[in-house]
Amino acid sequence: MSGAVLFASADALLVVAVILPLFAVPVLFLAPSRIAERATVVVLGLSLLVALAIAGGVGRSGAAAASFIGGWRPPLGVGLRADGFSAFMLVMTAAVLLATGLFAMTTPGRSRAGGERMPPAFWMLLASVFSALNLVFLAEDLFTLYVALELLTFAAVPLVCLEGKLAQVEAALRYLLFALFGSLLYLLGVVVIYGLYGTLDIILVAREATASPGFVLALALMTAGMMAKAALFPLHLWLPPAHSGAPPAASALLSAVVIKAPIFLLVRFWLDLAPSTLAVAVAPMLAGLGAAAIVVCSLVALAQPRLKLLIAYSTAAQIGYLFLMFPLAAASSPWSALAWTGGALHLASHAFSKAAMFMAAGLIAEALGHDRIAGLSGVGRVVPVSLFAFGLGGLSLMGLPPAGGFVAKVMLLSAAVHLGAWWIAAVILLGGLLAGGYVLKVVVLALQRPAEPLVAQPVAHWREWVALALALVAVGFGFVPLEPSHFLFIGRPASWAGMVP
């Protein structure tokens, strides 16, 4: 097969998904910043096409795609693999990041959405985050995943302090410490696994793994590491200052997609790597922490005086739903597939709605010059499109029809009820109620007639429309059929059988 054909083949696309975003970096280093910015947006668009092509290939063939780096098969070499779930994550991430790029583009004569510092830095970090996330979704090797997590951490942390204020630098440092602590715990777990099985390939390890003390410790270390990175209660303290302090475009991508990488890996560890008996035993603990996250962080969100902090606490709460999924998806029952689909749908609709809400909050703050909730009265007349985007995103968080969050919660609820996990069902309902509280608090106030005429700066309309488009996608997820998705289960259980370098 000639190189040109190989380049466009389904297997090569997995590598392209990882390396394509990186090509924006040298352009940003060497070209004038306006041109480089446009070029980066083009790269983001091409990356979305690559993700769609991978998903299309996986869907058409009904089987996972794989690529062996350098032609070396695991265990000696490193394999990339896209099953239905990976492809789903690739497309979601690419769509959110392209929207973030469009939102952050410089408008002549206006302040940059990506922060006031180092014009190309935001774009370089955005491209690196993209590459790192794609590698997280595709790598099948535990050490390659460590490299991906490192790349993700070093690209994500500086995004928090791009405006260079002291409080932001402090938030970024705390984020860095939590994330590095998580990386270290993860690496310790990987070392133990290599000592036990002599391989780092997830599929090969899963084939031999038993619930031995060493393997349990390794999984515990890796899980604790991912919990720190995912900001699962009670390790969430770094998230609100970091996500609320960042420039709006950075907040959107941190809260919408970066936080999903460790959660994706937890799903891989507990549903692909761990023996199923062990997963069934441990999953309720994860769900318990998830439930605590939903209740505690939603209540704290209700008490927030600033809009961006409210949205950030809402992220810490919404993360909890994804952990409620674990005991439901790990149970060997026909309802598990529905719980799994609900979890994935919640993950995606949260990504789109949260990105929309952070962008909307950024535009509201730009228009008013502040984001104090008490001073938002009447802002609906100033930036109606932004407020609409915020409201639609909030609709999905509350779990009201017809939004994606509604269908996701119905799936999780019915699985919980059929599996007899009543407490999970109760938490899902309570969480929806609390989300309703903190979203409506803002929307109702914003729709009121202001006591005195608002003095507002104009904002770029197309940026409002980007936020609205994201919110509409989150609502659009509400129209998927209420049944287990076939696509998400393509290529499961994972195997290298029949794949040639």
């Binding site: 097969m1 000639s2 190189g3 040109a4 190989l6 380049f7 090569a12 590598v15 390396i19 990186l22 970096v25 040298p26 280093f29 060497l30 062996f68 780096i69 350098g70 032609g71 070396w72 265990p75 000696l76 070499g77 490193v78 006031e116 510092r117 180092m118 014009p119 190309p120 830095a121 370089m124 970090l125 690196s128 590459s131 050490f143 390659t144 490299v147 991906a148 490192e150 790349l151 070093f154 690209a155 500086p158 302090c161 791009l162 260079g164 630098v169 715990l185 310790l188 133990v192 000592g195 036990l196 099985y197 002599g198 391989t199 003390p213 060493g214 410790l217 390794a218 270390l221 370098p501």
Partner: protein, 308 residues
């Protein structure tokens, strides 16, 4: 005899580590931290992992130590910034629990340990390399190494992003604010050429014996910093095209070779048959240059507004 040596090394590492954690003067703790790195390097040598030892000493102790020394000088540890006893106790407890669990598990690990080392040695002739560690880094797990060079680049972008827009093309502050003394000047004139030679040798020898791009690059970075400290060479502005190309050369030459592999050898990061070693050495030259420049720039920190 060797048992005694190992025991002394282990105790020394513990003592140095306790000194790092014990609190007090920041400078003394950083020096103790560098001591931990050196002692760990010796332990790696005892374990016959010379590549790891070189990296630990050059990067873990040397370059990291420099960064920490600067931080200690810029932000001296005051009593208000010192964390409380409760915090120390909690951190200590977490550390002890993780240590105990790991100790038990390490003792329970299968013996002999399952390992890919025999597979690596068996496959090594296909790569024409003599050092199995270089074989793993640049052939079997080339993707990880490629992305590690990207991580270093992203770390530098992160450091640069800490300074405001208007400084985006300017130079970092000099490491050594005082006028250089005659002794430092003399030391730099003698040591830098020798050190540079050692750095280049370390990378060149890496194909067949322990050494390689990371270790060689770290030594070269240290020599460049030394020359700047002694005032023999100015601190460069980060806007220069040459400097930026040097930073990009390693990761992107590697990436380019990886893509060429699709056309010449049939897979990403596969090397054309018969030219493996030539291509690998070429890639390593580019990586060594980028690592040296990037590590030196990481130590120098964000640009501070001087026009070089």
């Amino acid at each position: 005899m060797s048992l005694l040596l190992d025991a002394i090394l282990a105790l020394l590492v513990l003592a140095a580590a306790v000194r790092v954690a014990a609190g007090g003067d920041g400078f003394a703790r950083v020096v103790a931290f560098m001591g931990v790195g050196l002692l760990l390097g010796l332990i790696w040598v005892r374990l016959a992992a010379v590549d790891v030892a070189l990296t630990e000493v050059a990067v873990g102790s040397g370059i990291t130590g420099l960064v920490l020394l600067q931080a200690a000088a810029d932000a001296p540890l005051t009593r208000e910034r010192e964390v409380g006893l409760l915090y120390h106790l909690c951190a200590g407890m977490v550390g002890l629990v993780v240590f105990a669990a790991l100790a038990v598990v390490v003792l329970l690990l299968p013996d002999p340990a399952p390992s890919l080392a025999p597979d690596v040695v068996r496959a090594l002739p296909a790569t024409d390399l003599g050092n199995p560690v270089t074989g793993v880094l640049l052939v079997f797990r080339a993707l990880d190494t490629l992305l590690e060079t990207m991580v270093l680049l992203v770390a530098l972008i992160g450091v640069w992003s800490l300074s405001p827009d208007r400084h985006w093309r300017r130079a970092p502050a000099p490491l050594w604010p005082a006028p250089p003394s005659g002794a430092l000047d003399f030391l730099a004139r003698v040591l830098v050429p020798i050190g540079a030679l050692v750095g280049i040798y370390m990378f060149w020898a890496g194909a067949d014996v322990p050494g390689g791009a990371f270790q060689g690059g770290a030594v070269l970075a240290a020599m460049a910093l030394m020359a700047m400290m002694a005032g023999l060479s100015p601190v460069p502005a980060i806007g220069g095209a040459g400097l930026r190309l040097a930073v990009l050369a390693g990761p992107f030459a590697f990436l380019g070779v990886g893509i060429a592999g699709w056309f010449l050898a049939g897979a990403f990061l596969d090397y054309p048959e018969g030219f493996e070693k030539t291509v690998i050495i070429a890639v390593e030259v580019a990586i060594t240059v980028s690592i040296a420049v990037t590590l030196a720039l990481l130590v120098l920190g964000p640009p501070m507004g001087r026009k070089a």
